[in-house]
Amino acid sequence: MRKLALPDEILLSIQQPARYIGGEVNMCIKDPKSVPIRFAMCFPDVYDIGMSHLGIQILYDMFNRREDIYCERVYSPWTDLDKIMRERHIPLFALESQDPIRDFDFLGITLQYEMSYTNVLQILDLSQIPLHAADRGEDMPIVIGGGPCAYNPEPLAEFFDLFYIGEGETVYDELMDRYKENKKANGTRIQFLEQAAQIPGIYVPAFYDVSYHEDGTIQSFTPNRPCAKERITKELVMDLDQVNYIDKPLVPFIKVTQDRVVLEIMRGCIRGCRFCQAGNIYRPMRERGLDYLKDHAAKLLKSTGHEEISLSSLSSSDYTKLEELITFLIEEFKGKGVNISLPSLRIDAFSLDVMNKVQDVKKSSLTFAPEAGSQRLRDVINKGLTEEDILTGAASAFHGGWNRVKLYFMLGLPTETREDIEGIALLSEKVAETYYDEIPKEQRRGKVQVVASSSFFVPKPFTPFQWARMNTKEEFIEKANIVRQKFREMLNNKSLKYNWHEAELTVLEGVMARGDRRVGAVIEAAYENGAIFDSWSEYFQESIWMEAFQRCGLSLDFYTTRERSLEEIFPWDFIDAGVSKEFLKREWQKAMKEEVTPNCRSRCAGCGALKFEGGVCFEGKN
């Protein structure tokens, strides 16, 4: 039996003790004393969220295949335990060995969303690791950041020893080898970082200096020692069938957000929506082979015992062999009590047919993501979905027995006018009308339900909208009110429902997304005043953040509502994410002219990702 870090008295007085005990099915067990490298893999949010993340499971599996590494997990203690650990000075521990994190060689933290940044500090703090990389001694773990938010690592630069830019499956091996060599040679921490800085994709923030213009924008960003590269090119896997996928994912005891087998069918996206960061940073789109997926689907279901399998990708309808894959899953597993959950597919005859087979039509709803309320604005954001697509799709679904529709929109997109905003209500109304027009009274099963939701737009690095001005909180709220008002005017308003997200959180997300190194002080100040679990609206406190900005003498508007010139040096410009700045500029200018860009399969837009020599760029060309 493993020892536990927490005594029964604590475990039995907090919510969900199973979050902190490990011992799940498929947990990796090694003797910590017999491995040279101990790696703590962290998702800085509560266990239930962190355990649902596919990327961590992939890396956990990958590291533990190496005999010389023991990779363990750590998540944010929930607020109840957080309080106890602070009061009693209990150091944060890993789930597997229950040993303190500060005794590890590495602490790897995945950065999936901006509002988890205060939780990053929570993890360091509870681990009793100095928050600033510069203050860490030789005995402290090397703290690594990765994940999508590492594409603009600057707000977190001071807290990390190094960042890994790109997909994790490629250079970790080399990084670990260097670490071992350095340790053997009795090298220092800084010597290891100097070695690491030379590995592709690795960014050591301490090796770069930033200077600013008087107006606060960046004047220069330069390496301060020879080992540091001028530009960091993202790492990516070109042949997804050649890298290990997980065979035996961990199976949590408690019900977590993603309580199912997740099959990643492809990475990247061909669509080129101009607001979407994932669609840009994961270019080019690369598919996994059908046989590979079939094989893994069976293995994963068997090794976990999950009763559900779902497909993961940015746009599953673009997977070339989707029909074959889904048919296979249905034929192979449906009869065995396995549910097949489909990601939102483009609504057409095929998808309606399979949805009919795998879900209860009466209980399920159709999902469309028009993102903007008018065709004009959809052209600006390069969202290829037309009103006709939506209405014809909805009509066939209504004939198939569905009567619930979900529509997703964004407010605050560049060039947005009142007409575009009101278009959200008008489009929703048209969907409702389609139902009443298409389905004769006697065949209707009650009213149609159209639920429209809007989030607020946050400009992200490495998208054509990285130059865009973000709306203020007041503008957001006003826009949401216009939509709400318009919904009230609709004839079918009894069939319509409108939800919108909180604006305060979005504004801060905007600061973190395009922030520079100076924002780190704000995060630290907010954390010191109690900010934690900011992505949980019940814990988010706007006032703490406003105070932190004031204390640090920084202006929020500088990062959000300021107009940026095409010449400005962005904090993330030193990273080469594949898409070139010229391409992004071109797309930004086309957006202003309401011109659309075809997807990668129709015509290559010359984004720059061709240099990785694979994926969709070379489809059908070999």
Partner: protein, 237 residues
Amino acid sequence: MKVRIKFSKQGIAKFIGHLDVMRYFQKVMRRADIAICYSGGFSPHQIMSFAAPLGVGITSLGEYVDIEVEDSEPIATMKERMNQTMAEGFQVESITRLPDQAVNAMSLVAAARYHLTFRPGYEPEDPKGWMKELEEFYGQKEIRITKKTKKGQKELDLASLVYELSAQGEGVTMVISTGSEENIKPDLVLDAFYQSKGMERDPFAFLIQREEVYGRIPGGEGPFPFLSLEKLGDCHE
């Protein structure tokens, strides 16, 4: 065919609540390739029923779950297959085939045996003496208490629901009424004693283990008319 599984829950498994234990066993069935039967309907579920929920924090040597499997299922290898895919702390102890007309474990439950010891660090000066005193207290003919229920309060005679209670060195073993008729927990048994002494019980003072769950022997009489669910399953054959 119907099958009764007896399993133990030790170590860290005591932190897994009842609902999660149910979900856990559903997944065990799939991992171990048990040909379990499914209900009909759009989202079929496994035919599975647990005997008596166990509180979080309590370990057990004898938990029960009944399942229905296809006739083709090889029972001989079931225990081994399941134990190959168990998580830390869970282990299948036995598999018993039940007659087709057997009623499910849950409705059979009548009593359970618990063993309690002081958690290290919480012992009184004389733990043996303390346990002896507890035994003597339950030697009384009648112990009236008021028990909180969902609807409010009710009076009952605790002595008639504690079928056995004997001090064993620094521990105590008790067999108490469990299940749908009158569900008594070890805490309640302790509390009555503490109250009689005018003392407050520390919620962490004891380590509790459930050792067995019993059903009533049909037509059984005498001081101990119970049989473990495992044996009760057998005796129908």
